[in-house]
């Protein structure tokens, strides 16, 4: 048990927004306003670093020791979302608050069947699994490199951009 980290994630399994905003993997409000950006919700020191080589723009740094929390270099991040499928903890997302005038785009890893269908509607959930809004499935990406982790993109009302991190499966 991680005694040193007495925080929301250890008590409930859900990181608090404060914990996330204080972590080096979380982009600033400023950067979030500029366009699509990775959001790394990894706040425990676990030996793990495949996110670093996954980024083609070099925008994620873990270094040594590999227990370092991943640092998001938000100016280097182009919001391609290629890192999402490579995190073994399924803890990386993409948020694009500029998707449209009213909608934000959320990209997240998805490992269930059936895969959602593009243009279908889905129930979008927050980190606690509560349904918070309806989402339009915009894209479903699979590839050999992603090794059976699909990356799903959904469009949701902008105001839920900090909350929504998935959809109800099945």
């Amino acid at each position: 048990m991680a005694k040193e980290i007495r925080s929301a994630i250890v008590l409930t399994g859900v990181p608090s927004i404060e914990e996330l905003k204080n972590s080096p993997g979380f982009p600033s409000e400023e950067r979030l306003k500029k366009g699509p950006v990775a959001v790394i919700e990894c706040i425990q020191e676990i030996p793990c670093d495949p996110c670093e080589p996954a980024c083609p723009s070099g925008a994620i740094k873990v270094g040594k020791p590999i227990t370092n929390l991943p640092v998001l270099c938000e100016d280097k991040c182009v919001g391609c979302g290629k890192c999402i499928a490579f995190c073994p903890g399924l803890a990386i997302f993409l948020v694009d608050t500029t998707f449209s005038k009213t909608k934000a785009l959320i990209k997240f890893p998805y490992e269930y069947l059936p895969l959602p269908r593009v243009n279908s509607w889905a129930d979008a959930v927050d980190r606690e699994g509560n349904i918070v809004t309806k989402a339009r499935v915009v894209k479903v990406e699979t590839s050999d490199k992603y090794d059976r982790t699909a990356v799903v993109s959904i469009a949701i009302p902008k105001r839920f951009a900090h909350k929504v991190r998935g959809i109800v499966s099945g």
Partner: protein
């Protein structure tokens, strides 16, 4: 219930089906799967009943260590169903207590 399709493991490949007889009832099983898997797939969840209080027992460890899942198979008692593959025509019985040997019709 069989997991026919799986997001990581893919589609369950087609394999030969065999017939097993469980408590005199004929059931379908996938050739080579452990008896316990065939039981689960057929909705059966009791392997044996205890000697003293006739209580039901089933799967616990699933890897041949605990013996909770033993049944009498082809006349031989105490067969671990989680590590014993099915065979076409296999006779499987819910075991009572430590069971009885009745191989080739001879009771011991």
């Amino acid at each position: 219930m069989r997991v026919l399709n799986h997001p990581i493991l893919g589609k369950l490949e087609k394999r030969r089906m065999v017939k097993i007889i469980v408590d005199a009832k004929a059931l379908q099983a996938i050739e080579g799967e452990p008896i316990i898997a065939a039981l689960l797939a057929n909705g059966i969840r009791v392997c044996r009943r205890t000697k003293k209080r006739n209580e039901p027992r089933f799967l616990f460890c699933g890897i041949g260590q605990c013996t909770d899942c033993v049944m009498t198979v082809d006349g031989i008692p105490n067969v671990r169903t989680c590590v014993t593959p099915v065979r076409d025509g296999m006779q499987i019985e819910t075991q009572i207590g430590s069971g009885k040997w009745s191989v080739q019709g001879v009771e011991y």
